[in-house]
């Protein structure tokens, strides 16, 4: 941030800032690389490149210049997932900007999750929702790719829609789940529950100890 601080070696950028005396309100969430709250923009010593990353996952280096980017301004479109068709048409309606992708690959280079972000944009444009959803499954919605995108694409929300279209409309439903729900609603297990719930701890413990473990010890 243009001002030098001395910190011990081996800390993440987040812990280094705290050590130096900063206390986060914005810019710290899960602290484990899962929430995207801690975007950081930095230059390493001797490097002309401006890089982006996660403050909770990037180890601080001597001479690093950095600033925290806790928020990427963008608006999420509103939809009813059950009413949508899982195809490019739907996506274009909410995210028309994807046609402006110039294949510069800046998004992929920015992604702290090492996702093939540009590939995913291409897959969407080829109407391959399943492939796109799988490519960006690990997206933590940090928005760092969007800050670098010359086409102003809102990747986090775009990918959220793609994943939900895939999960809702393209993955087959689990029959066994439906069957079990039906059994439960019909009261199939009630009698056994009443028996169990009346048991003493000793009786329960006996049942517990004697139960068979699937794929258990050899």
């Amino acid at each position: 941030m243009g001002k030098a601080y001395e910190v011990p070696e081996g800390l993440t950028i987040m812990k280094a800032l705290e050590y130096a005396g900063f206390r986060f309100i914005r810019g710290s969430g899960c602290r484990g690389g899962f929430c995207g709250a801690c975007g950081v923009i930095y230059r390493s010593p001797g490097e002309y490149k401006l890089r982006v990353g996660l403050a909770c996952q990037t180890t601080v280096k001597d001479g690093m210049h950095l600033a925290i980017l806790p928020y990427s301004p963008m608006v999420k479109p509103i939809y009813r997932i059950d009413k949508l068709k899982p195809d490019l048409g739907t996506i274009l309606k909410y995210f028309p900007e994807i046609v402006r992708c110039v294949s510069c690959n800046s998004c992929t280079k920015a992604c702290p999750q090492d996702l093939e972000v540009m590939e995913a944009i291409q897959a969407i444009r080829q109407n391959d929702i399943a492939r796109a959803a799988n490519l960006i499954f690990d997206c933590i919605m940090c928005g760092l790719c969007s800050t670098r995108c010359p086409a102003d694409i809102r990747h986090p929300y775009l990918f959220q829609l793609v994943r939900r279209l895939y999960g809702k409309h393209l993955l087959s439903r689990a029959r066994h789940v439906e069957l079990r729900v039906k059994e439960i609603v019909e009261g199939r297990w009630e009698a056994e529950f009443s028996k169990l719930m009346k048991m003493s701890v000793e009786e329960l413990r006996k049942l517990y100890t004697e139960r068979k473990i699937e794929g258990g010890e050899k």
Binding site: A20, C30, G32, Q57, I81, D138
Partner: protein, 555 residues
């Protein structure tokens, strides 16, 4: 000192692990008997140490033993002075107030909406951003007994056994009966589960469960969960207020029912008044209190605020003398110390090995047993000491590739692979060092099966529902993997549905007061708690000591 990757000394120790690997490949460590488990846990688990806890001197559970860090928060003054708060200016007037933007809060808000409450009559407030929560970090999966080989009855037994048989039976029954329904709901929302091409769930084994019952979204189940339900909350139009934690509940001076909350805008530091017919507390756990000095897997805002707020309106706490230490937190490198190495690593076959390359525990014993076994190995000198002085044992990850084929780790544990490769360690080739880390609050505010908060006399506290990690009773004294995600959705849903019913039944607008707080403050004064002790703490303070000692407060 190189703080990434492994030092040459550590490399030498890794060779020992590699030497014993071929022999271990063919073996499993035997299971402990219940008696052996008990001996191990009573000797080594922090829950059983007498110096980690103390007797509460105040409030509805006075006299009960809780972890000292929890007692510190309950024996503390509020952040506000009741008389200086203007309750006549109401900033938000709603039917249902949901406090907490994790999985339990989001589920409660959605099910209140499904039950007929208009979205604009609900308000979801949260401390950080919506979704900055323990939920987003959950890695391994959700339990639900939905395969033909499995049954809710077996799930019930596993949960009771894992919780040492002190769980509240009505809550366990609700958990296991509703869990399949939750899975179906998530499918409806477009949640991407690990499935076979025909749509069957691929389910994994978890510690303490007698059937494969873990439903996963690769190794970021919680991320997928949080993403999907957050998206849905926004789509249905429920208003969300971020960076605005609740710092106190309000009560109706006539009925004593909970009637809303005081919020604090963290950025402007102004307080806000919410009037609500029903309040649902879903503030999550307490890992950031770092009980007994342990590192934690929890998110930045896990500071037990809900316990403090609920206790001050008379809620009963239970099992606050037990915490879950996840057996496998990263012990090295320092940058990720305390972060979770998910149980799936062991479900896939990763074995725990001491400095001599020997197995010392069956890796899928319940968590408290595995954690105790690791603490014992280290205490008795069979652990590895890292360059920063932390202890750990090996978790033999390359074994997974040998057992299940190369490529398994990148496919099944991509997030774990990524976390370590960023630190210069390739877990497909080298094992990793692990040590227990503070993971989960087993107990909390006692609820009934409707999700209502209970007072010590067993009666519900009117106007207050509670859901998620902040509650107690579902898991007894120890939670099984995958049972928490099930818990937060099952009881978030129940709280939402029942809160909606209560809200509809109340026709008049509740009145607001801080009378309960004034009474609590009288007690604080009586037992002589110093004014400097204040709670809720909202966020941990990790500023360096040097800075804190010289701090001058200006703004």
């Amino acid at each position: 000192m190189n703080m990434e990757g492994y030092s040459p000394e550590m490399r030498k120790l890794i060779e020992i692990v590699e030497e014993t690997r071929p022999e271990r490949l063919r073996r499993k460590y035997r299971k402990f008997s219940l008696k052996e488990r008990k001996e191990l846990v009573s000797k080594w688990h922090p829950d059983y140490r007498s110096d980690t806890k103390r007797r509460l001197r105040i409030g509805p559970c006075r006299g009960e033993i809780v972890y000292s860090e929890i007692a510190d928060l309950l024996e503390a003054w509020p952040l506000i002075e009741p008389d200086s708060i203007d309750l006549s200016r109401i900033d938000y007037d709603v039917e249902i107030l949901v406090v907490g933007g994790g999985g339990a809060g989001a589920a409660a808000a959605l099910w209140a909406y499904y039950s007929g409450v208009k979205p604009e009559d609900i308000l979801l407030v949260t401390k950080l951003r919506f979704g900055d929560a323990n939920t987003v970090k959950a890695r391994t999966g959700i339990q639900a007994a939905d395969r033909a080989e499995d049954s809710p009855i077996l799930h019930y037994l596993d949960t009771m056994g894992g919780g040492h048989f002190v769980n509240k039976p009505e809550l366990v029954k609700a958990l296991v009966s509703d869990a399949p329904l939750i899975i179906k709901w998530l499918e409806d929302l477009g949640f991407i589960f690990d499935k076979t091409p025909s749509g069957d769930m691929i389910e994994y084994a978890g510690g303490g469960a007698c059937r494969r019952r873990l439903h996963c979204a690769r190794d970021c189940t919680g991320l997928e969960l949080m993403r999907v339900i957050k998206d849905e909350v926004i789509n249905v139009g429920i208003p969300v207020l971020e960076y605005s934690p609740a710092i106190e509940l309000l009560t109706d001076p006539e009925t004593s029912a909970v009637s809303g909350a005081i919020l604090l805008n963290l950025e402007t530091e102004e307080y806000l008044v919410v009037c609500a017919k029903v309040t649902i507390l879903a503030t999550g756990g307490c890992g950031r209190l770092h009980a007994v000095g342990f590192p934690t897997t929890n998110h930045y805002g896990a500071t037990a605020d809900g316990i403090v707020l609920g206790y001050r309106v008379g809620a009963k706490l239970r099992d606050m003398d037990t915490l879950q230490f996840h057996p496998t937190g990263a012990a090295w490198p320092e940058a990720i110390r305390g972060e979770l190495v998910p149980e799936k690593t062991r479900s896939l076959g990763g074995q725990l090995v001491n400095i001599k390359g020997e197995m010392f525990v069956y890796e899928l014993e319940p968590r408290d047993v595995v954690a105790s076994a690791i603490i014992r190995e280290c205490a008795e000198g069979r652990g590895v000491i890292t360059p920063t002085g932390a202890h750990g044992v090996w978790l033999d990850t390359p074994l997974i590739e040998e057992l299940r084929g190369s490529g398994t780790i990148k496919k099944e544990l991509p997030a774990l692979y990524r976390m370590f490769i960023r630190q210069g360690i390739d877990i497909t080739e080298d094992p990793i060092l692990v040590f227990p880390t503070l993971h989960y609050q087993n107990g909390g505010i006692e609820i009934d099966s409707y999700g209502r908060a209970l007072a010590p006399n067993g009666k519900p506290i009117p106007g207050l529902f509670v859901a998620g990690e902040v509650t107690g009773g579902v898991h007894g004294r120890n939670r099984l993997v995958g049972n928490s995600l099930a818990d937060i959705l099952v009881f978030g849903r129940r709280a939402g549905i029942n809160a909606a019913k209560v809200a509809v039944s109340i026709s008049s607008k509740p009145k607001l007061s801080l009378n309960h707080l004034k009474a609590y403050m009288e007690e604080l004064k009586r037992i002589g708690i110093p004014r400097t002790k204040r709670a809720p703490i909202l966020l941990p303070d990790y500023r360096g000591e040097k800075v804190l000692l010289r701090s001058v407060r200006v703004f």
